[in-house]
């Protein structure tokens, strides 16, 4: 998909140019606010990928469409990467702003759980010799995990308001200026096209791998047939 490749590279290049050179530093956070241009789009994509994965899994279970399984499976590592980026860049942003690498607040904890869910999905999808079974088990997990994301967010919210004063964490959303919004959106769309680009690559890979398995199976069958005749 050359057009996906071109738009991904173009959008991210434009987003980086605007974000690193042309957007002003924040009046409170200074230049550290530029971390936002990777952090926020990555966090959005982390949630988007999980939604896509759960949706594809549900579609695969309901309509038994093989391509939906392939899409869900190909999405998992991309979503895990975005979640990792969001966690790591958030940590690097938190250190200068809040004075700590990590806080057990609602946002961070639910993102961490999302990362675990991705990892669990990937491991489960690879844990069976029987392909069909691996796909279906992983699909059930993706759907069950989707229910958990809002629950986690809500429960940790409550947990924290009781135990931790929301002093450090309350970054009053700097009413965002167009000069900051533009690079943010460019990066977000660039990340989205990156997702579709890599998704296409991974799905093509999976489909070809499926063809290889089918060819091997047919050959094994015909050899067995030759021998018996």
């Amino acid at each position: 998909m050359p057009w996906l490749q071109r738009s991904t590279l173009g959008l991210i290049a434009a987003g980086l140019t605007l974000g690193l050179f042309l957007s002003p530093p924040d009046y409170q956070q200074g230049d550290s606010v530029r971390i936002m241009y990777v952090h926020v789009p990555a966090a959005w994509m982390a949630l988007f990928c999980y939604t896509a994965m759960a949706g594809a899994s549900a579609a695969a279970l309901v309509w038994r469409h093989a391509l939906a399984h392939v899409a869900a499976r190909a999405t998992a590592p991309i979503g895990a990467s975005f979640t990792f980026i969001a966690l790591a860049s958030g940590s690097l942003w938190g250190k200068p702003m809040w004075g700590t690498w990590w806080v057990w607040d609602a946002r961070l904890t639910s993102m961490l759980v999302l990362f675990f869910l991705y990892l669990g999905y990937i491991v489960l999808a690879g844990a069976f010799d029987d392909r069909e079974r691996a796909q279906k088990s992983a699909a059930v997990l993706a759907i069950v995990g989707f229910v958990n994301v809002p629950i986690i967010k809500f429960s940790v919210d409550w947990w924290n308001t009781l135990h931790q004063p929301a002093s450090v964490l309350k970054i009053d959303g700097p009413s965002i200026d167009p000069s900051m919004l533009a690079p943010l959106l460019l990066m977000a769309i660039g990340f989205a096209t990156y997702y579709f680009w890599v998704l296409a690559i991974r799905m093509q890979d999976e489909i070809m791998a499926g063809k290889i398995r089918a060819l091997r199976l047919r050959r094994a069958e015909s050899e067995a047939g030759d021998r018996s005749s």
Partner: protein, 221 residues
């Protein structure tokens, strides 16, 4: 209903006769809790402060131990296939097996928890909230764990995989379970926490057996 009870009795008898799984879980629970004073120091105030968290987390780990074999044994010897063919809905079978698992492993844990809490210098007034929170929370963990146990039937690395799947899902129960005990510790009303734990249980009660039964059917296909 009667058939469900029959399966429950069969599973309980098996658990009691082998005795190993539930005994191992309780032993693990006691040992792990006993390790904490060595790890964080025997200072009574500190232990009292973190005691409820220690008990909840180790109870969670301990219940993971026996869950791994919840369906695997029956799958290996073929009786799961027979149970799936029985006139009884598979969901009822799953509920019976979960109930048996809970009675065999979680109840001993709940019985041991107050004693261990006293060893961790927890004040006496949190013992009842702790037991009640565990009583409301552990069935939800067993239900969630059953989904995980059904998903990993026939997989290559069961035990680690099960923890990886179930522990993230159990975090809400952990948060509110510890919250109830903490509230009692600070003299606040613990009732909202119990209500939320009960709500989790009521939500998990229909959903988890259904998901676990779906996963088992796929495993048997």
């Amino acid at each position: 209903m009667r058939r469900t009870l029959l399966i429950l009795r069969r599973d309980l008898r098996l658990a009691l006769r082998q005795g190993s799984d539930s005994f191992a879980a309780v032993m693990f629970f006691v040992m792990a809790v006993a390790l904490f004073p060595f790890g964080v120091g025997p200072e009574p105030n500190m232990l009292a402060r973190i005691g409820s968290g220690i008990l909840w987390v180790t109870a969670l780990m301990a219940s993971m131990l026996a869950l791994e074999r919840l369906f695997q044994n029956d799958y290996d010897d073929g009786s799961l296939e027979l149970l799936a063919l029985a006139p009884l809905p598979l969901e009822a079978v799953v509920i019976a097996k979960i109930a048996a698992h809970w009675i065999a492993t979680a109840l001993p844990l709940i019985a041991a928890a107050p004693v261990l809490a006293l060893l961790l210098h927890a004040p006496a007034e949190i013992l009842a909230p702790l037991a009640l929170a565990l009583l409301l929370g552990t069935p939800t963990i067993s239900l969630l764990g059953a989904v995980g146990a059904a998903l990993i039937i026939g997989s290559r690395r069961g035990g680690v995989l099960l923890s990886l799947l179930v522990l993230p899902l159990a975090i809400p129960v952990l948060i509110f379970g510890v919250g109830a005990v903490e509230a009692a510790l600070m003299g606040l009303p613990a009732r909202p926490y119990f209500l939320v734990l009960a709500a989790f249980l009521l939500a998990a009660l229909p959903l988890c057996p259904w998901a676990a039964a779906a996963a088992i059917r796929q495993a048997l296909e």
